[in-house]
């Protein structure tokens, strides 16, 4: 149901670890729950965020939600495509709809996150 190679937060973000860099996004569950996403406020490249700190804002036709960082570190890249095409979060949340890349401070933080089966249990899907 959810990709096995990712880790998940209880706030419905996913992380793909690649060495010291983590790519993060929101899960298909979160995207479905939010409905049509119309705007993503992206963090600034070079800004720092604590684990579970606020990284940005996601606005859909029916709700506004904060985006939390599943791991802490420095934002090294953001998905510029989302500025014009926020709907990528609905269409391809685990791929083209990635949100940001973070240079991870402490890889051990990943261990505190859920794996795919635990996340599936959390969401009931």
């Amino acid at each position: 149901m959810y990709p096995d190679d990712l880790r998940y937060s209880k706030d419905h973000e996913w992380v793909r670890a690649d060495g010291a860099t983590a790519t993060i996004g929101i899960t298909s569950f979160a995207a479905d729950e939010l409905g049509d996403i119309v705007f993503v406020e992206l963090p600034e490249v070079g800004s720092r965020v604590e684990q579970f700190g606020t990284l940005g804002v996601i606005e859909s036709v029916k709700a506004v939600s904060d985006l939390y960082a599943p791991v802490g570190g420095e934002v090294s890249e953001v998905n510029e495509a989302l500025r014009d095409r926020p709907e990528l979060l609905n269409g391809d949340p685990f791929g083209e709809g990635w949100i940001a890349r973070i240079a991870v401070d402490d890889a051990a933080q990943l261990d505190s996150l859920l794996d795919a089966s635990a996340y599936a249990e959390l969401t009931g899907r």
Partner: protein, 447 residues
């Protein structure tokens, strides 16, 4: 539905439910000393007697017959159509409706207001109005802090002192530091904010430079250079403007303003003991999600018909609570409607005439005072419709003229100790040659 207040029985039941003996017991936290239970009021009067008494008190108001008082509030002609429009029962509400989409007419009027403000300022988006010009300015500074993620604000000392005090109040809560950029008020000075002085105050920690055009002294600021100084430091330019002046001066959108704030009172709203007024705010579309206040958008319904909605509500407090762009702003829908009716009635040519007549009379006034040897211009810079004159013994003469029903402008030494013996005099299209003659003669007489 019966509309009745609580009965004694209701009181008893409520008190019993919360376990309190009497209504008085609810106030025991308030010290006895300030819990006045007796007021020294006169005995009751009939309605006729009350009217007579209030008329007697109102008769003590000393209404000036000639006024050159401006300093942020200006007496302009309000065409009769303005009050006719805002008095209509469909519109006569002070606030945006809380079930907005059912009130298409109200939303359309606000949309037209926003469109007019965009046209006037040359900006891309305008809000549905704010409480007044000062709070709009303070909100603009906070908006710049959010946009730049910086926490200092630079403001010219030639911005209206009252506006600066409101700005200071707004910034004190979130811990934003307000730094002052001194205008050139020296003898023989311009009375303007030098771009080089502004540049010295700006660095990577300052979110915005707040300057007023025309400034508090009526002077025409070098806005383009000030915008360049702000942008060079990565800061925003907040332009505080006077709306009728935009008919003759460059639009903020043309000289690089990032956020525009204004007191909208000159647009069809009478002087009335300081309010209600209306704040205007406009910005670039790229910043719209950090803009405070309500915003009306035009759209189409399912059948393809044009309709109006409150849009981008995710910025607002009823959706995002503590993360809203502002939790302390309001709007002035009825005054915004007055501004809309005014701008529509006078049109671009009419507004230009208002501005030009106001400017012409200011020059006439300054020349008349100078040639009579009563005073001389204190600053060298070009001015709009308000001018600062050095007049010996200004405070005493100002007071003496007030006794004769002539308000000879605003005494500047109250807020600017270095500007002793100076008066700030404002003119509008309602200023007649006879008014000018009266103030010149009055100042000569009390010499």
């Amino acid at each position: 539905m019966a509309y009745s207040p609580h009965t004694e029985a209701d009181h008893e039941r409520m008190l019993a439910a919360i376990g309190v003996g009497s209504v008085e017991d609810l106030f025991t936290d308030i010290p006895e000393a300030v819990r006045t239970t007796r007021f020294d009021l006169p005995s009751p009067l009939t309605e006729m007697e009350v009217r007579a008494e209030l008329s007697r008190i109102a008769g003590r108001n000393a209404l000036p017959t000639v006024s050159f008082l401006g300093a942020g509030a200006y007496r302009h002609l309000v065409p009769a159509v303005v009050n006719e429009v805002i008095g209509r029962s469909e519109f006569a509400t002070a606030y945006t409706p809380y079930q907005p989409e059912v009130s298409q007419g109200t939303l359309q009027s606000i949309y037209e207001f926003q469109s007019l403000i965009c046209e006037l300022t040359g900006m891309e988006v305008a809000s549905a109005s704010h409480y007044d010009g000062a709070t709009a300015t303070a909100e603009a500074a906070l908006m710049a802090c959010r946009l730049t993620r910086r926490d200092r604000v630079a403001v010219s000392s030639a911005v209206n002192p009252q506006t600066r005090r409101v700005l200071q109040t707004y910034c004190s809560g979130p811990g934003i530091e307000v730094v002052e950029v001194p205008a050139d008020l020296a003898e023989g000075g311009s009375g303007l904010t030098p771009a080089s002085t502004a540049a010295d105050a700006l660095d990577g920690t300052v979110a915005c430079l707040v300057v007023q055009q025309p400034n508090f002294f009526g002077g025409i600021e070098p806005m383009r250079e000030l915008a360049e100084a702000a942008h060079a430091a990565g800061a925003q330019l907040v332009a505080v403007v006077e709306p009728t002046s935009l008919a003759v001066l460059a639009a903020p959108g043309d000289y690089g303003a990032d956020i525009v704030a204004a007191e909208g009172q000159p647009l069809g709203i009478p002087l009335s003991f300081g309010g209600p007024y209306v704040g205007l705010m406009a910005a670039r579309m790229a910043s719209v999600r950090q803009m405070p206040g309500r915003l009306v958008g035009a759209t189409r319904d399912a059948a393809g018909r044009k309709g109006y909605v409150l849009t981008l509500q995710a910025r607002e407090q009823h959706i995002r609570r503590e993360k809203a762009a502002s939790n302390i702003c309001t709007n002035q829908a009825l005054c915004a409607l007055a501004a809309t009716a005014y701008l529509t009635a006078v049109g671009p040519d009419g507004l230009r005439e208002v501005a030009e007549l106001s400017m012409t009379q200011a020059r006439h006034l300054a020349a008349a005072l100078e040639s009579a040897g009563v005073g001389e211009r204190r600053f060298s810079a070009p001015y709009f419709a308000e001018v600062v004159l050095r007049i010996p013994d200004a405070a005493r003469r100002h007071a003496a003229l007030a006794e004769r029903g002539i308000l000879a402008g605003h005494l500047l030494e109250r807020e600017y100790p270095q500007l002793r013996d100076t008066l700030l005099l404002a003119t509008t299209e309602l200023t007649t040659d006879a008014h000018v003659a009266a103030v010149v003669a009055g100042l000569e007489a009390v010499r």
